[in-house]
Structure formats: C-alpha cells, structure tokens
C-alpha cells in the first residue's frame, strides 16, 4: 500500500481518478495554456520583443564597421583611454563591440528615437547588460545580433559585462548616454 511497492491492481490505468485530481489538473492545464499564449500575444501586442535578426561574422569583418561609425560620428572622447563618444543620427545602424575587457565605443542616443543596434564580440563570449534599466543579451563571437532599440528614458546607463570573460571581467564596463 505504498509508493515503493507494485500497484495493487494489475490494471491500474482503469482505476478511476478522484475528483480532486481532475479539478486540479484541469485548472493547471488552463493556466499552462495561458502561460503559453502570453508569449505569442506579447509578440503581437507587447513592445519588448527580441529581434531574431543575426548574421555570421568575423572580427575582421565586424571591427571595420564599428570603426567606420566611430570615424564618422565621434563627438568627443572620455577618460585617459580616449574612449570615443559616438552620436549617430536617429534611425541609423549603431555598433557596440565587445572585447577583453571593453565595450567600445560609448554611444550617445536621443530619447524616444529608434536605432538598429549591432552587437558582436571580437574574442570570447560576453554579456551585454544595460543598467539600471536591466536589459540583458548574450554576445557571441562570430555572430552579429541586430536589435531595434528605443531608449525612452533619458540618463546615463552603464553597460556591465555579465558573462564571465576572464580575470578582468569586472573591469569591462561601458556606457550609453540617452539625451532628452
């Protein structure tokens, strides 16, 4: 009469199930279907969905595209490392490059405008984590991910690396400015 002995009936499949279980299974199944349909629903009606636009790339291919944007739109540099601050026009393709242990360059965006943000890594895997708004993406070498982002709150944002990338991982910190 316990859980570790063979069932009492040879044909236990036909033993009727109690009402309590039936009620609970029905409720749970309905909830599971709601859980499922929330995802396609959000694709249609929600504003936070990930694009699945991605390309295979190489550091040799991706690096020059980032440099071209920096050459064209740099407005100033920051820190003694001369990190360029780049202010590309609204609606354009903007690039963020991850490498040991830097997010390159600093981006300066306009509030409420949409940009095509490209992300890729030159070496190992990194984690693109915009704080404090808490948006997190995986950055994988050899892949260029393209996201349409619309920063809608002005401010100064940190870009933390949240995928472990070696001993200098904690120094890998970038910045995004969102201007009014």
């Amino acid at each position: 009469m316990t859980s570790y002995l063979p069932p009492a009936q040879r044909i236990w499949w036909n033993v009727p199930v109690g009402r309590q279980e039936i009620v609970w299974i029905t409720i749970a199944l309905i909830w599971c279907l709601i859980l499922f349909f929330m995802m396609p629903y959000w694709h249609v009606y929600g504003k936070q969905n990930l694009s699945t636009e991605a390309y295979k790339t190489t550091p040799a291919q991706y690096g020059p595209k980032v440099q071209a944007m920096i050459d064209k739109y740099t407005v100033r540099t920051e820190t003694e490392q001369q990190i360029p601050v780049v202010a590309p026009p609204a609606g354009s393709d903007i690039y963020m490059l991850a490498r040991l242990w830097q997010w390159w360059p600093i981006l300066e965006l306009e509030k409420g405008k949409t940009y095509r943000l490209h992300l890729s890594s030159m070496d190992w895997q990194h984690g693109f984590s915009v704080q404090p708004v808490n948006i997190n993406m995986q950055v994988v070498p050899g892949y260029e991910m393209v996201l349409n982002i619309t920063p809608d709150v002005a401010g100064e944002y940190g870009v933390v690396c949240n995928e472990y990338c070696g001993i200098g991982h904690h120094t890998m910190l970038g910045r995004i400015y969102v201007k009014e």
Binding site: R19, Q125, V140, I149
Partner: protein
C-alpha cells in the same frame, strides 16, 4: 541468489553488490558536497560586498569548482545510488553486471578527481559552462568525459537490472511508482550524458589542438542540452524520493497510480526541451524555436510538476487522515513527524521547490521576460531553490534515512539532525530571496566586484542592491554551516555511530516480513503488490488541506508572473 541481506528494520532486501555500490556512491557524493560547501563559503564571502574576501583569480577558481562539484558530482553520484536502490533494492533483484557497475564508479571517481585537479591547478577557471572559445586545460574536459561515461554505465546497469527483474519475475504487474520515477530520471540522464559527449569530446580535441574551431553558438545549444537536462534528472529523481519518503515515513500510497505515472511520462516527453531557457537572448535562433522549447511544448512539463505538487502532499494528507488526524484542514500537517529529518527535509524541499524554484523557473524561462533576468544573480537564486533546496535537501533527508538502514549505524547528534533541515532550508531561502531581489536590480552573476574596481568608466548599483547582497551573504554563510552540520552528522555516524544489531527497531517493519535473517543469506520472496485499500471519498476531496495549499501556490504563481510582465513593459521598447 543467496546474496541478499534483509534489513530487519525496514524489510528491504539488499543485494550485496548493490549495497556496496550504493555505499561507495553515497560516500563519494558526500565528499563532493563537502568540497562544494567549503568552496561555497569562499564564493559567498566574496560576493558579500562588505567582506569581499578572495582575490579575483581565486574567486573564479572557487566558483568553477563549486558549480561542478555541487551540480554534477554530488548530485550524480547520489543519483546513481538512488538508481541502484530503486532498481535492485525496491524490485528485490540482484544488480545487473556488478563488474561494469564498479567500472562505472571508478570512471566517475577518476573523472571527478581529474577535473578538480585541473581546476585547482589554476588554468581552468572557465566556470561550469566552459563556453568556447575560452579554453580550459585538456584534462578539465577529459575528467568530465570520464565522469559522464561512468554515469552512463551506471544508467545501463540500472536498465539491465530492470530486465533481470522482469525475466526473473521478482514482481508482479508494473514496477513501483518510485522505480518508475527513477526510470524517468535515468532516461533523462541518458539524453543528458549523450549530449555532453557530443559537445565535450570535440571540445577536448580542440583543447589539445586536433580541431581548430568550435562554433560558440552551437556549443551553447548542445552544452545546455547537458547542462540544463542534468538538472532535470534531479527533478525526476527528487520527486521520486518525495514519493519514497512519503511512503517510508507515513506509509503514504500514491493518490492515483495513473495520475502520478502520467505526470512522469510528461517529464519524459517534454522536460528536456527546457534547455532552451539559456538560449532566449542569443543570436541566431528563431522565436518559434524559443517559444516551443522554452515552454516544454505548451508547458506540459510544468503541468506535470503541478500535478506532483498536489499528489505528493496529497498522498501524505490521505495517509495522515487515515491515522485519525482529520481535524480541520491542516491537523494532518501539524501532527506530521516534523522531528524526523527525512520527513521534514522532504516537506521543506517540496514547498521551496514549488513556491520559489518552480515559479521563478517559469517566469525567467518566458521568452520575453528572460531579457530582464538573463545572467543576473536572479539565475543562481532560482537554481539554488530548485537544486540546493529541491534536490540537495531531499537527498540529505534520504541520507539521514540511509545511515541506519544501509550503513547499519545509529545516528549521532539526533537533536542537531532534527533541526538541520529547518536551518538549511531557512537559510537557503534567505539566500534565494535576497539574490532574487539583487538580480531584479541588475546585479550580475559570476562577477567578482560590483564596484567595478579598475574599470575605466564607472557605474554604481543602488544602495539597496548592496544591502540585498549583504543579507544574501549572511544566508549563504548559515547555509554552509548547516550543510556542515549535515556532514558532521552523516560522516560522524559512519565513523563513530553505534553499530546496529540485526534488529534495532528504529523503524517499524512495514511489510510484515519476519524479523529473523542472517546477513546475506536471505532469500527474497516475490515482491508483494501493494494491498488494495478501501476507497474513501474519491467522489469528494480526499485531501482538502493540500488542495488549499495548491490554490495558494496557483494564486502566488499568477500574481508573480504578471508582476514580471508589468516590469518587462517598463523597459526600453525593443524589437
């Protein structure tokens, strides 16, 4: 066939080979847990911002070893012991191919030692995930491969044991529910280990220079077929142990064989698809793939867990009500054997796994919501609820049970043992809740310094994030101490506990087997089927208290789920 020992206290028959193998696996598991726990202390005291104990290189080394020792070695060693128990002991059959089983154990042991050596030599601090192209020393991967091969042999010894039981007719009808749950775990283990081999063998060849390139995204997808599924083995295994402990401590029987087994079947079909939880913010995979896999095909494995969430405590409630604890909704629970650590650890594990582990898992595994959680410290909060409280605490409870039954020793420090599950469960819950909070504030996992010392730029987390991490640190330290109490009791009992006489009467004989037997010449009779019982109240609600608890779970689930959608709606629009 006269290779069996009858346990006079439980009526269980132990095959000599199976018994020795269970013992060595259990000991290897406990040693792994000891190492993992010591490392946890270093990790926790470094992430506690006010303490920040270790330098960065040691922190990452400790964290790599903590993950592998706790998530792979402790748990899988113990699970192989459970498979041999559920196969050989519960079916009263000799273990198949004991020499192969010993070979499997030897490979697992060599593998576990090799990988630990590689990590502590210092050139393999690559985290448990070892994402390419970051490279570890070749013997880091080699050790994992040997461990996996050994575990696979263990799974097939278990399947072979089922075949022997069937051909030798040691039981009638179907296998016991607990054994069926163990079969579910073994099936998931076969997929897990095969995926591990598919990805770790090429990675090993790459580390010694035979292969020039491994695609990092392909690595992530296949690695997680191992990394996540290995935790699904745990779910199936610890749910089976819940049923087992409910039977052993309360004499509970399944409310319905059909319902419980069907829930395990849903695990077999769908549980492993959830490896996609880790790929939700990755480049290059479609939304259709993400939605289908992350939801276990329409959340059918979540349905299975919700079913077990009703039927395990429901079975306990029915058994208690039969004993006369029928007053009100919850007398059965108040009068439960809370002083028995096997019971209390099971019940605490059930509650925390369901309320925290289960709900957070579904929330963070939702395709869009994942982007506000991925790689934050919310993730380890979730899996400490599922693995450290769900699996580890359950296995601790079973280990307390095995000391008298398997090792024939009286438990030392019984009062400490009584309190240990509460202490461990409670402190882990503090750790989990406060790490969840810090993760919501964006604190990242696997990160040495939330002050970013030495970075060219600066960013400051809110003061609240620091407070939450500090309280989580306190929870972690208490959890390590209570894990130490577990090790003290189990290892101390093995070394210094009083040897038990053939019948010490610690546990009631529950199968009506006569209590006279000499060691290893007992001849097991055919395993009896469970006695049929009178139907009572199947038209009404047999376990009303459990139903109320289940509804509380559902309401918490709904509220927390939609709070997270609300939070998601507040971040920058993305498309």
């Amino acid at each position: 066939m006269s290779n069996f020992r009858l346990c006079p206290d439980t009526g269980l028959f132990f095959d000599k080979n199976a018994e020795s193998l269970m013992k060595v696996h259990a000991v290897a598991a406990v040693v792994s847990l000891l190492v993992a726990g010591l490392l946890a202390l270093g990790v926790a005291l470094t992430r506690w911002p006010a303490v920040h104990l270790l330098p960065a290189d040691q922190f990452y080394m400790f964290l790599t070893a903590h993950g592998i020792d706790a998530l792979l070695f402790w748990i899988i060693f113990f699970e192989i012991a459970i498979l041999y128990f559920a196969g050989s002991t519960l079916l009263r059959v000799r273990l198949a191919a004991p020499k192969w089983a010993w070979l499997g154990f030897a490979l697992m042991l060599i593998g576990a030692v090799t990988t630990n050596v590689a990590i502590f030599q210092g050139n393999s601090s690559v985290m448990m995930t070892s994402y390419v192209p970051m490279q570890a020393a070749p013997h880091f991967y080699l050790g994992l491969i040997l461990f996996a091969v050994g575990a696979l042999i263990g799974c097939f010894v278990f399947f072979g044991t089922l075949v022997i039981a069937k051909t030798e007719n040691t039981y009638e009808g179907s296998v016991p529910l607990v054994t069926f749950g163990a079969i579910t775990a073994a099936i998931i283990a076969v997929f897990t280990i095969a995926s591990g081999a598919i990805i770790l063998v090429p990675t090993f060849l790459w580390s010694i220079g035979y292969i020039s390139h491994i695609d990092p995204e392909m690595y992530r997808i296949i690695w997680w077929a191992m990394g996540h599924s290995s935790q699904q083995i745990n779910v199936a295994a610890h749910v089976s142990v819940w049923y087992l402990v409910a039977g052993l401590t309360l004499g509970a029987r399944p409310m319905s064989e059909k319902v419980s087994r069907f829930a395990f079947l849903l695990y077999i079909f769908f549980l492993q698809l959830a490896s996609a939880h880790h790929i939700l913010v990755d480049p290059g995979v479609s939304a259709e793939w993400k939605i289908f896999n992350t939801s276990y095909a329409m959340y059918l494995a979540v349905l299975a867990s919700m079913i077990h969430g009703l039927t395990v405590p429901g079975a306990m409630e029915v058994a208690q009500r039969e004993k006369g604890y029928t007053h009100g909704l919850f007398e059965w629970l108040r009068k439960a054997p809370w002083g028995n650590p096997a019971f209390s650890s099971t019940f605490i594990s059930l509650v925390i796994f369901g309320f925290i582990g289960g709900i957070t898992g579904v929330v963070m595994g939702t395709e869009q919501i994942n982007l506000i959680i991925h790689n934050t410290i919310y993730v380890p909060a979730h899996f400490h609820a599922t693995v450290a409280v769900g699996t580890t605490l359950t296995f601790m409870g079973l280990a307390f049970f095995l000391i008298p039954v398997l090792f024939r020793r009286q438990m030392i420090l019984p009062t400490l043992a009584k309190w240990q599950p509460f202490l461990f469960g409670g402190s882990m819950t503090v750790l989990i809740l406060f790490m969840m909070g810090a993760g919501t504030l964006g604190v990242s996992r696997r990160h040495w310094d939330m002050d970013f010392a030495g970075a060219a730029l600066s960013f400051e987390y809110s003061g609240m994030a620091y407070t939450l991490m500090g309280i989580a640190g306190i929870g972690a330290v208490v959890a390590v101490i209570s894990g130490g109490a577990f090790l003290l009791i189990t290892v101390g009992s093995l070394l210094f506990g009083k040897k038990l006489e053939p019948s010490a009467g610690i546990l009631q004989s529950f199968l009506g087997v006569p209590l006279s037997a000499d060691t290893y010449n007992a001849k097991p009779e055919i395993l009896p089927m469970a006695a049929p019982v009178e139907e009572h109240g199947s038209a009404g609600f047999e376990a009303p208290g459990t139903f109320v608890l289940a509804m509380v779970l559902l309401v918490s689930f709904i509220v927390y789920y939609f709070i997270n959608w609300k939070y998601l709606a507040s971040v920058w629009p993305l498309s």
